[in-house]
Assembly symmetry: C2
Amino acid sequence: MEPRQVNIGILGFGVVGGGLYRLLLKNGEEIERRTRARIRVAKVADVEWQRERPTYPPAEIRTTDALAVIQDPRIDIVVETIGGVGVALDLVRAALAAGKSVVTSNKEMIAKHGAELFDLAAASGVDLFFEGAVGGAIPIIRALKESLEASHLDLVLGIVNGTTNYILTRMMEEGRPFEEVLAEAQRLGYAEADPTADVDGLDARNKLAILCAIAFGLRASVESIHTEGIRSITPTDIQYAQQMGYVIKLLALGRRHDGRVELRVHPALVPRNHPLASVRGSFNAVFVHGDGCGDVMLYGRGAGDLPTGAAVAGDVIEAARNIINNCRGRVLCTCMADADVLPNEEVVTSTYLRLRVADRPGVLGKIATAFGEAGVSLASVIQLDTDHHTAEIVMVTHACPEGHLDTALASIEALDVVKALASRIRVMEQPAD
Amino acid sequence: MEPRQVNIGILGFGVVGGGLYRLLLKNGEEIERRTRARIRVAKVADVEWQRERPTYPPAEIRTTDALAVIQDPRIDIVVETIGGVGVALDLVRAALAAGKSVVTSNKEMIAKHGAELFDLAAASGVDLFFEGAVGGAIPIIRALKESLEASHLDLVLGIVNGTTNYILTRMMEEGRPFEEVLAEAQRLGYAEADPTADVDGLDARNKLAILCAIAFGLRASVESIHTEGIRSITPTDIQYAQQMGYVIKLLALGRRHDGRVELRVHPALVPRNHPLASVRGSFNAVFVHGDGCGDVMLYGRGAGDLPTGAAVAGDVIEAARNIINNCRGRVLCTCMADADVLPNEEVVTSTYLRLRVADRPGVLGKIATAFGEAGVSLASVIQLDTDHHTAEIVMVTHACPEGHLDTALASIEALDVVKALASRIRVMEQPAD
């Protein structure tokens, strides 16, 4: 079979667009030998070309007119690496409507507008791929949409934000507080000047909505996902967790129950022998469980020019293969229904609690009684004196509905001997052996 | 789009064939909703139907005539789960020649006859899929053939044999010797009555040949792969390794150099903070590195009826999708050349050594001199007395060509003060941070 040329247009020449471009340039020959597709970057659009970049496309393929790229009849595949849901969304809509296959790494756009865009792609009979939207280089999207499809998946558990995992890893390994490590991460380029999307869990929430759609076939609005970030995590809690055999990670969790689904993003105590516990620094991982496949985990670089560029390039190759083989649209949207999200009070989980209490006889008794009355049983209790007047009680509950715990904590916080509920962090169960 | 029926014939109704059948039965509706393919098991062939099985296909689809299944014009996909390279190979040849897409979990057949079979598949314009051949449920084959294709991969590092990983994990966690743990593994069904293929590394070798072909595009004969098993691993070495921050794993390693490739299966000391170090029990994992993707690892159940059945079922779905979309053969054989395998003496590695020596002054000096003369430098040395006459020296070398180490050890073993080279185990470098 003769190699066939496939032309792509790249919209947005930032970190990911640049990584994609360099990779296609470097490995183009090897890709052609493996796939018989000669992938040529025909046009690159960006709003400005003055900024310094590690690589620069030749002048004759640079443009500032993204719409002209979409409308160029020679272009088969449009790659969107602009990000956000403003102009990127309009351009992707236009590209799909114009009958181009689209590859994007835009998690926010897929999380919030995936349904509409997949309908558009299906109507035009083209592909819409987004491997780069979750977990950078980790091939989790294709694994879920194709390889693991024979299994009924009931659990998706991800460390999907590299910035927060980097911060938590440094906090744990160096015993330093959140603000200090965040400031350092910002200096080193691991965290943005405005870190909100990362440290408050919003980025992970977008990715969880996508994982829920492809693993469970259920569409969930990002607003329906209970979301907590890592700002409140302290070195003290990390140290207690370590003593009990856990590490603290920001998890994106989806669990399928009969007809309903649990969706939440929050820090959690992860048992040290869980495969997710060894995911350090800016690495990401997604752990899934299904009736056939059992436990499966995919691990890799969650962000960066080349890792995300590699995921996007993999999608470009796949889209090119489908063009060559005349089978665009062979993998459909996997969503079959809207997610019926379990209310938080019905979520069953074990929880780590740290209370500051008056250092007086009988305090633990009062607290334990309040737990018992709300139907919450305790798996472990440690009491430590902090000074003459205050003691710290660290407890882990057995799994119970969060609503029961809310009730227990409301009465406990009302006790005059209780000074503060310092921490409340969910605990993951042990993995299968 | 209306669902389309795709008929499959299963050859061999053992562990994997049975797992596949049960999974398709259980999840058939969900698969149909996601893919629009109604996958129907039209025939199941096995040499005998008397044996007790967890599930039994209805009498009207059971047969003992495998050739009739292949020749049945209604059957679109033939699944081979017989194993070995005898009758299985003849049947797969016949199925491909008859224009059927073939799905197999037969690692030995793909490792030894993949080239011929892929040529046959290409000539017939059909698919030949083998996700179940390496790493059970782990979607490593599709990840390498499709998702990671944009990266030039230079390293594949796998824990691909569950039996040996189970044995090494138990030896480490319980401090017990190999023979005892093997006997227990055999009782529990984790090891075969004849454990040779597993414990001597032959199974891992077949899988490494496959990984080399798909990750590097290079065909290697299994005979060209340097292979050592785990019979010589002792609790003593495991304990020393732990003290130095390592765990011992049976690794299948492929590393691409300029034009040549390093291929070897052997036990190795893996740094405790390497993602592979936390792969416990019968789990498998494959770690790869590429210029674009960086470090990527896939982890999961390496064997068993449902995990391997799920991988095979995933391939069946993919083959069905290609039939429905009229694009069989869209993913080609990725082999481009024969592997030029690096001779073992040129392989550069760090090595752990344990020597039993006479407990006399000057011994360490003689040994260190012999290393120096052969150009081998030492990273660490521990000397311990074992009794009045013998001392044990545990050393880790810096990375050097194995040929240099061979020379050094030849002169060291000839020293009258050296009683025995008790252990020689390769050491993996630290992972990237």
